[in-house]
């Protein structure tokens, strides 16, 4: 994985990848020209805008984006519910769709974590696809991680002034270690103020089937998180994980809060476009 730390940066951000190829190549060697996007099952059905925004942002950076049409789900719902055989059956169908040596960008910390860290274990060393799985896992990036650590993007904020609060998923934070990259991207937006929330590192209570298996516990956690987020006075909640967003948006709306969350890809894309 390439990092941009310590590298001299040009003073003026440009926002358009095409105008600054030299700097990128200097910083990271071979910049990928093509990436895969794994859209995730939740985004596919409930928030396609997030997936499309991620694709468009990657394209703005000058990359060719490949979205294999046969993809469906990383298998996480079954895996964390105690059904590894079912998870494996679904994951097997995904692996072969990403065989070219291109990075796989996933707009969700928990799905990225599943593919990067749990797939090798789920398949095991004796599975016929084991070598392919290891290669795929090594190419998986969470969306904000890819923008910051691989592309080293410079975002030009064209939106009006606003105040947002960021929720980072537990998988992004503890499994992928990419909780700082969402914050780094928001930090590039000159007109966006990022507000501090109480107990930032605490779970929102989603946890996949946990929300259905232990609804009272999940609701208590979601309520506390929603209150902490709403009491910041932010106009907008931003997160890089659709599971957390579904949980928090549902909880906030049910509580009658004006605050709603948006996937960070959708939010970033809205900031990069000239105001209409």
């Amino acid at each position: 994985m390439s990092h941009s730390q310590g590298h001299a940066r040009p003073a003026a951000p440009t926002g358009n990848a095409a105008t600054r190829p030299a700097r990128q190549e200097e910083a990271h060697g071979a910049r990928p020209h093509t990436v895969y996007v794994f859209g995730t099952c939740l985004i596919d059905l409930f928030d396609p805008e997030a997936g499309l925004s991620a694709i468009e942002i990657l394209e703005r950076e000058g990359l060719r984006v490949v979205f294999p049409d046969a993809q469906s789900c990383c298998g996480q719902p079954a895996y964390t519910s105690g059904y590894p055989a079912e998870a494996l059956a679904v994951a097997e169908r995904q692996v072969q769709l990403f065989s070219a040596d291109w990075p796989i960008v996933v707009p969700s910390g928990s799905c990225a974590g599943m593919m990067k860290h749990h797939w090798p274990r789920l398949f095991g060393p004796d599975h016929p696809l084991a070598a392919q799985v290891a290669a795929v896992a090594a190419r998986v990036y969470e969306f904000t991680e890819f923008l910051v650590r691989v592309l080293d993007v410079r975002l030009q904020d064209r939106g009006p002034p606003t105040r947002v609060v960021l929720h980072t998923s537990c998988s992004a934070r503890r499994e992928m270690g990419v909780h700082l990259t969402s914050a780094a991207l928001l930090g590039q937006l000159t007109q966006v103020e990022v507000l501090h929330q109480e107990r930032e590192t605490e779970c929102c209570g989603f946890g996949g089937t946990f929300a259905l298996r232990h609804p009272e516990l999940s609701a208590a956690m979601a309520k506390d998180k929603a209150e902490a987020l709403a009491s910041t006075g932010a106009a907008q909640l931003v997160s890089a994980d659709c599971g957390c967003l579904a949980n928090l948006n549902g909880t906030l709306a049910r509580a009658g809060s004006a605050l709603q969350g948006q996937h960070i890809a959708t939010f970033l894309k809205s900031r990069l476009e000239p105001p209409t």
Binding site: G51, Y83, R93, E175, P215, L217, S218, R254
Partner: protein
Amino acid sequence: MNQASLHYLPGAGFRARSKQVLDDPALRQSFRGAMDFLMQKRAAQFPDPAVLAALRRQGEAIRQYSLARLPDLLEQLEAKLQQNGVTVHWAETPAEAQDIIAGIITRAQADMVIKGKSMVSEEIELNHALEARGIAALESDMGEYIVQLAGERPSHIIMPAIHKTKAEIARLFAEKLPGVDYTESVDALIQIGRRVLREKFRDARIGLSGVNFAVAETGTLCLVENEGNGRMCTTVPEVHIAVTGIEKVVEKLEHVPPLLTLLTRSATGQAVTTYFNWISGPRRPGELDGPKEMHLVLVDNGRPQAYARPDFRATLQCIRCGACMNHCPVYTRIGGLAYGTTYPGPIGKIISPHLLGLGGTGELVTASSLCGACGEVCPVQIPIPQLLIDLRARSQAGGPDPYSPPLAGEGEGRKPLVALSFKLWRILYRSPLLYRLFAFLATRLRRLTPARQGAWTASRTPLVPARRSLHERVRQRAAQAAANN
């Protein structure tokens, strides 16, 4: 499992028990405050993440090394302790441990034992078993003493009475202790407890303690404590009985300091506790104090099951600091009693299935959002979330068991409806064609999405599919781009 168990409450009641606490704002507030305090104290002890990471790696390595050599180390420990004049007993089950301990007490013709804090004694239901044999067991750790007076169970492995408020303790003391008036002064309450217990120490002929680390090369039992009651229990009475799980052994003395510093900092945020006892045998000729007779009872109680399985052995790395509880968003909201097991919180969820079987604990292993806070703070790097995922698989029998022998109660948590829904999910998400049809219908019929979606909508607005799936929008976009070219 002891049928007349005081501690174990069936997992099936977990949801109802936790709901009771969730509906009690005062209790929740008090847990939250206590856990916040403990988290801050721990964080202050580990200011440098690099130092913490190195210490945790070291702690994990020592525990893994010790477990890898466990059978040899236990034999070495036994031989050394015997050389030191300590009698070693082996107990496979709680009942065996109870019999051994009751036997020692009866042979000494005593009818009372004074206890330092020991979670293994809770695990084997010792007090209950002794009382049934006419032997009184008195807790001398202040938290345990309070819990015992109240007829309750510890709700935290380090702070047993963390669920009780000052006022509740004041009422309890005034009610249960002769000649004690109601006072909410913490100092006064502690002095009252101290006075009562000091008298008991004078009379007790048997002292019982737990063990934090047992050192094989020297036959030394280490005991970590803050109140001095542990030292009293192990030095004043004529007979000292130590009781511990078989996993607590380390090979060398030099293995203790790294584990000790991880333990005290992670548990209570202390650089070191007020007392740290190295106990290497009974009173020797010419010595002025110490017990005349000393015993160690080594308890299995399901640990060999975790030990035998490469996927679950890490469970036994635990040094019982309780940091996973303090940082757990579930424990913080419901406290320890709702779990219904001796060990609550994340460590309770991963160890109880080995102690009690998966049948009654399957509900507990699902009671986690897998947020990973426990694994992040564990001083010996037990991958608690991974173990929970694997325990769920064994509880549901949702895939072939990679190892043998099977866990006790494997498959007993399987819910036919859940199993069926994952079978259908598998068919749908494996077939691009079926999935395409499903996504088409879900998006086109989105207005028919039910407003009530079971547990989800109990506290949330319903989830409604988008107008078009991402798959479809990507296809539309590609078609458009092709048309434009």
